[in-house]
Amino acid sequence: MAEIATTAPQRVARRPRLRGASSLLGTVPFFAYVTIFLIIPTLVVVIGAFASDAGGFTLGNVRALGDEYVVAAFGRSITLSAASALIGAIFGALLAYALVTARTGGLLRRMVTAACGVLAQFGGVTLAFAFLATIGLSGFLTLWLTEHGFDPYANGVWLFELPGLTLVYTYFQIPLMVIVFLPALDGIRPQWREATESLGGTTWQYWTRVAGPLLAPAFLGSTLLLFANAFSAYATAAALVSQGSPIVPLQIRGALTSEVVLGQANLGKAMALGMVVVVAVVMTLYSLLQKRTARWLG
């Protein structure tokens, strides 16, 4: 029984295709940029990770990744990234949902998305300083609280440790979540809700059976993006933490610039390779989830 295949209608107008070399010419700046700033540094890291100080091939650097303190740093990096990504994702999604209920193109929504665009990129020394000036040891909020009988640092100076880093990272994770999650929320059509209600569904059922499953891939994908964003952040932590190098990027800094323990440059590159692997796994999952989301967002 042969079925009659329905063919899609042929496109009528076709874009004239540029021929050969001239079409490649346009991509030269892009590929030059990617080569200089992405491919070459990656190669330097990969080659260095397997190079000994004398210049030969060695697996020593990669083996040293099994050292207790390196494993611990990776553990802390992953914990920090996961915690700040989850907190950022939950609060960011709630904020984005609040924005969706506001009028599209309205002033409030435009203002908040513009602010998020700025704050998502707010990091490094400026961010660290903002927190130090506010809740640092002699920050104005700390002094005010201490005057009123509450010492936020009674149990140790947590601002310069993982809890503090999580708090500071969350500050740029929430706005980033708003930016990446908003399009998915915009894709939810009011008609679906109406359909649910006209069929006798409750709000709870709408969220668990309709909107929830549709948004889940986008939500998880965005969370993974946040994770990668925190995992690779360096400048903020470097400006805030000067003792103990708790996370991997700071361990790499130590390996490259230490004036005490020498000859660790290639171990630093091996740690960077480890980070590349973690981020690659995360980004692969992210793109798979993006594909799922794109199916119905289109």
């Binding site: 000994s52 611990a72 640092y153 003792q243």
Partner: protein, 372 residues
Amino acid sequence: MRTLSRSVAVVAAATMFAATAACSPPEKETEAAAGSAATAASAADLGGMDALIAAAKKEGQLNVIALPPNWANYGEIIKTFGDKYGIKVNSAQPDGSSQDEINAANQLKGQDTAPDVFDLGGAVATANTAMFAPYKVATFDEIPAELKDANGAWVNDYGGYMSIGYDSAKVPAPTSVDDLLKPEYKGKVALNGDPTQAGAAFGGVQMVAVAKGGSAEDVKPGVDFFGELKKAGNFLPVDPNPATITSGQTPVVFDWDYLNTASATKVSTWKTFVPSNAVLGSYYVQAINKDAPHPAAARLWQEFLYSDEGQNLWLKGGARPVRADAMQKAGTIDATAFAALPKVDGTPVIPTEAQNTKAKGYLAANWTKAVG
């Protein structure tokens, strides 16, 4: 493998250079003079001090790196040298580490922005002697033999003892290392840097180790002490600098005595204390980059630093210049500054390279665990 990755980086750097700025090519006209200056192992090789000064003036510039202005009075030293000889001193990365200096020399090799001279911690200097140009200053013979390389590849320049600096307006005066565990010091005690990265902080841990019955190589007692300090909530994981000291964020700082004495000029209530029975000394190392873009100026800088004037400028910053004993005998030392150095009692311990290596291995594996 190493050379391959380096050439890749060089290609990248070159591409970026070509793409970014019209950087002026290094001048070729001083090549002849520079050629001889680059191999000169003393001023005499160039035809005496006047010839060296003339060659340096002709170069007109000197690149120094990782010299904070408030560190051993380097701000004044740089200014005095520049004014005296009419040479423009370019000071790069004032807060850089010793390893940063070596990295810069490698990365900028062959460019006119590469560092001419180094001021390094002992460990980094020992590991990189191949990068130094041997040079003997006029006062070379007055420097104690154990504080210099016989050929002049490197020479110790100034040193100090590990000390505890504190703001007497904010905390009681400590009389021993153990005092710092008291509740009065809650969230107030800082180390100058991370001991697995910065020489000064490393010295701090060694000093505590010596005070607590360990030694320069057995630093476990020192690491354990900072672990206790952290548990007590007294350890402050902030990198102290003049700004944190002035604003009162870091009221107690482990650092070389010349750095703590320098803080007293900014905070009048800042006192420096060297615990008895724990006097840990360390000298920094001066060397010339063998690929120095301004070889004559680099050599003139050394002559200036080891002259009476240069040594007294270091002393003015609270550092003990390497020629102190000879200058005291000759009566050329700045007596006021010399008398103002913090008092120490006990025999100074100056760690050897072998002791440091043992201590570092323990630190790398255990420091983060203790304070992380």
